[in-house]
Amino acid sequence: ANQQTANADGEQAKPTLTVAYSEGGTTMDPAEASDLTSDTLVLAAYDQLVTYGKKTVDGSEVANTDDIQPMLAKSWEESADGTEYTFTLQDGVKFQSGNPMTSADVVYSYERLGASSSGSFLYGMADIKSVEAPDDSTVKITLNQANHMFMQIIALYNFSIIDQKAMEGQADDYLKTNTAGSGAFKIDKWDPASEAVFSANAEYWNGAPALSKVTLKFTKEASNRVLLLDKGDVDMAIEIPAKDVSALQSNENLTVQSNASNRILYFAMNNKVAPFDNAKVRQAISYAIPYEQLIGDVMYGQAKQMKSAVASNTPGYTDAGYVYDTNLDKAKELLTEAGYPDGFAFDLTLGSGFQDWEDDAVIIQAELAKIGVTMNIEKVARAQFLEMQKEKNLTAFISKWTSFVNDPGYHLGFLLSSEGSSNYINYSNPEVDKLWEEAGKEADQSKRNELYAKAQELITTDSPWSYLYEYNRIVGMNNKVSGYIYYPDEVIRFNTISKAQ
C-alpha cells in the first residue's frame, strides 16, 4: 500500500494513502449521501461554495464551524435583514470534465438538491426561497427569513456544486455511481464491497493535492482495522475502538488522534410513559448512572462526560443545572418521593450494531438494580429499533446523535422541541419551545446563546434523558501522515493530507 505510483506526466511521484474505512457507502450523489463513506466520496470529488475554517485545539487541528471560509465562492455579502446573500464565484475554476464552473451550475445544483428525496430537508432547513444567477460569476440566494445557520448549512457536502453540462443527457441517477464535480480527487473506482480508489485531480483549481492516490479499504470488523493499522497495512484507520487506543499508541510508528466530537450518547426515557412521566423518576435515574464507570470501563477514557443536552463544543453550550453526579442515595430518595420506594421494572430497547451501547446497558442495569430498579434489556435489529423509535412509544432506549450543523438551534430543534422530528420521547416543555423559537429568530449570536443556555438549563433539570457521554472520534494514522483535520461531520478531507515518503 505504501508503494509510489508515478504521475502520468513524469513529475516527481507523489505518495499514495490507504485508509481502513468501515462501511462501503451507498451513493456518490451529493444530494442523497447520508453516511460517512458516501460523504467522504462526495467531499473528495466536489467543492461547495464555502467551507469551514480551522483552529487548533489541544495541539491538533480541528475544524471551526463558526468560521466560514471561501471555496468556490471567493466572497459574499449578506443583506441587512439577513435574507439575501450574494456570492461572487472564483475565476477560472474548471470541473474535472474541463467545463468551466459558472453560476448556472450553482443554481442547477441547489435546485436539484431542493428536489431530492434525502437532501431536500437540509435545503428546507436552510430556508432558501430562490437561487438566481444574475451573471456568470454571481449567485444570489434569497431566504424566506433570516437564518443564522444558513452559511453553516451550505458548507455541508449536500450543497456541492455539480457540473451541469456533464449532466446533460444523463439519467438522474447518473450521479449515484459517477461524479461531476470540481473536487481535488477523481474517483477511479468505488466498489462498496471492497474499496474505493481516488486519484489526484492534477488540474485542481486550488492546487493539486499532495497525495497521488487514496484507497479506502472497507473493513467492517473493527478489530481487523486495528490490526491492519498496527501491522502497517494501512496508513490510516477510522472508528478505532476506544479499548485499542492505548495499545496502538504504544506502537511508535502510529499516532492516534482522539478528538472530542459533537456526537452524544444519551439514555432516553419516554416522558409520556409511566413511571418516566414523572420528572423525579427521570432525575433519579440520572443520579443512578455510573458516569465514570461508563467512560472508564466502556470508553476507556475516550469520551467525555456530558452535562447538557448539547455537546460541549457546540456554541452556546452550558452545563448550568447539571447536578447529576452519581449518587445512589439521592436517587433512592427521589424515587421514594416519586412514589416508587421499592423501585420498578422497565424495558430498555437496544438497537444492535454498537457494542459499547450494550456494555453501557449492562453496567447501568447492574447499577439500577442497586436502587431496586429492574431494567430488562430488549435487543432488536437496528432497522427494527429505528422503526420502533419512530412510533414514539419505547419506554427507554439508548441513542446517539450528531448534529450536522453544530448549532444548538439545529440540535434542540430536532431532539427536544415538542415538534422535533427526532423527539421520540415526547418531551414537551412549552417554555423550552418558546426559548428555542425566539432564539431561532435572534440574529445576534450572544443573545441567541443566552436563550439557548436557558433552554438547556430547563432541559437538564427536567432530565428527559440521562446524559451518558460525548464521544471522541478516534482516527489512527501512521506517523508519516500529516495534515489531518478533524471535522464535526467526521469526514476526512484528503486534500489537506500529505504523507512523508
Binding site: 485499542d244 470501563d297 466502556v298 427494527q384
Partner: protein, 303 residues
C-alpha cells in the same frame, strides 16, 4: 393334537440368525459402552448437562456480576478462566452458557422433531398428493442455506433466545421429515406392517405403535447430531447479533463480545466459550456417531 404336541415341542436353543438378532439387542448397551469415542462423547454431554444444571452451585460468581475493578484479568487463581471487560468471571459465564446452549439445542431439536417427524411420516404413509406437497415443501426449505434461513427467521421474530430456538428448530424440520419419510417408506413395506393392516388395525395406530418405534433409532441418531448442529447454529446467530440479549451468558455471544479483544491479547474471552461450543458439539457428534455405528447393522457388518 397330542401327536402334534410331541413333534412340535419347541427347542429352547435359538437358531443362529435369531441369536445374532438377540445379540444385537442385548449387547446394544455393551457395544455402545465398548465404543470408546461414543463414551467419550457421552461423557462430554453428561458433564456439560450436569454442569449446566448445577451451574448456580458450582459457578464461583454470578454470570452477570460485574466488577470493573478486576476486569480483563488473565486466568488466575481467583478467576480460572479470567475475567471479561466488566470483570465478569468467564468461568461462571461459560458454565451458565452451557445452560443456554444445551437448552437451546434441546428445544430446537424438539421443534424440528415434533414437526418434522409427523410430516415425514404422514407424507410417506399416505403418499399421494399430500405427501408430494409436504415433501416438496421440505425440499424448498432445504434449498435455503440453513444459517441464512435461520437468520431471516430470527430477525423476523425479533432477536432473542426464543426466536433463536424457533429459527434453528424450523431449519431442522426438513432433515427430520426426510429421514422419517425414508424410514416410513421402507417400513410400510415391511411384512409386519402389512400383517397389522391385514388384521384391520387403524392407520393411526400403525403409524404410532409400529412405524414410529421402529424408525426411532435413526431419528435418535439424527436428534443427537441435530443437537450439535442446533448449538452451533444458535451460537452463530448470537455471534451475528441475532441471539440472546445482553447480559445473558451464551457461548456464541461471548465469542462475539470477546472477539475485539483477541488482538489485544485477551485470548481467554473467546477461547473458553469456543471450547465450550466445541466440546458440547463434539460430545453430541461422537455420541450420535457411536449410536449410528451400533444401531446401523450395515456399518457394523462392514467391520
Amino acid at each position: 393334537m397330542s401327536e402334534t404336541a410331541t413333534t412340535l415341542v419347541p427347542n429352547p436353543v435359538p437358531q443362529p440368525s435369531a441369536q445374532v438378532a438377540a445379540a444385537k439387542r442385548q449387547t446394544f448397551t455393551r457395544l455402545l459402552m465398548k465404543n470408546r469415542l461414543a463414551m467419550l462423547g457421552f461423557g462430554f454431554i453428561i458433564i456439560w448437562t450436569i454442569l449446566a444444571i448445577i451451574a448456580p452451585l458450582v459457578a464461583p460468581y454470578g454470570p452477570t456480576l460485574t466488577d470493573t475493578a478486576s476486569k480483563l484479568q488473565a486466568p488466575n487463581a481467583a478467576h480460572w478462566f479470567g475475567t471479561d471487560n466488566f470483570g465478569r468471571d468467564v468461568l461462571s459465564r461459560v458454565l451458565y452458557g452451557a445452560r443456554i446452549s444445551i437448552w437451546t439445542g434441546l428445544i430446537a431439536v424438539a421443534i424440528s422433531f415434533c414437526i418434522g417427524v409427523p410430516l415425514g411420516g404422514i407424507a410417506a404413509y399416505y403418499g399421494g398428493r399430500i405427501g408430494n406437497v409436504i415433501m416438496r415443501l421440505m425440499d424448498i426449505l432445504l434449498a435455503f442455506p440453513s444459517l441464512v434461513l435461520s437468520m431471516a427467521i430470527a430477525a423476523s421474530i425479533g432477536a432473542g433466545l426464543t426466536s433463536a430456538m424457533i429459527a434453528v428448530g424450523v431449519v431442522g424440520i426438513p432433515e427430520f421429515a426426510r429421514l422419517m419419510y425414508g424410514q416410513t417408506i421402507s417400513l410400510k413395506e415391511k411384512e409386519y406392517i402389512e400383517a397389522s393392516r391385514a388384521i384391520g388395525v387403524k392407520d393411526k395406530v400403525i403409524l404410532f405403535r409400529h412405524i414410529l418405534p421402529n424408525a426411532l433409532a435413526p431419528l435418535l441418531v439424527q436428534a443427537t447430531l441435530g443437537m450439535g448442529f442446533a448449538i452451533l447454529t444458535a451460537s452463530s446467530l448470537s455471534f451475528l447479533g441475532l441471539g440472546v440479549k445482553p447480559p445473558i451468558a451464551e457461548w456464541g455471544a461471548m465469542i462475539a463480545e470477546g472477539r475485539e479483544y483477541i488482538i489485544s491479547g485477551q485470548w481467554w474471552l473467546v477461547t473458553f466459550p469456543g471450547l465450550g461450543i466445541a466440546t458440547a458439539i463434539l460430545g453430541f457428534n461422537l455420541l450420535g456417531d457411536g449410536l449410528r455405528d451400533v444401531l446401523d447393522p450395515r456399518l457394523r457388518s462392514g467391520k
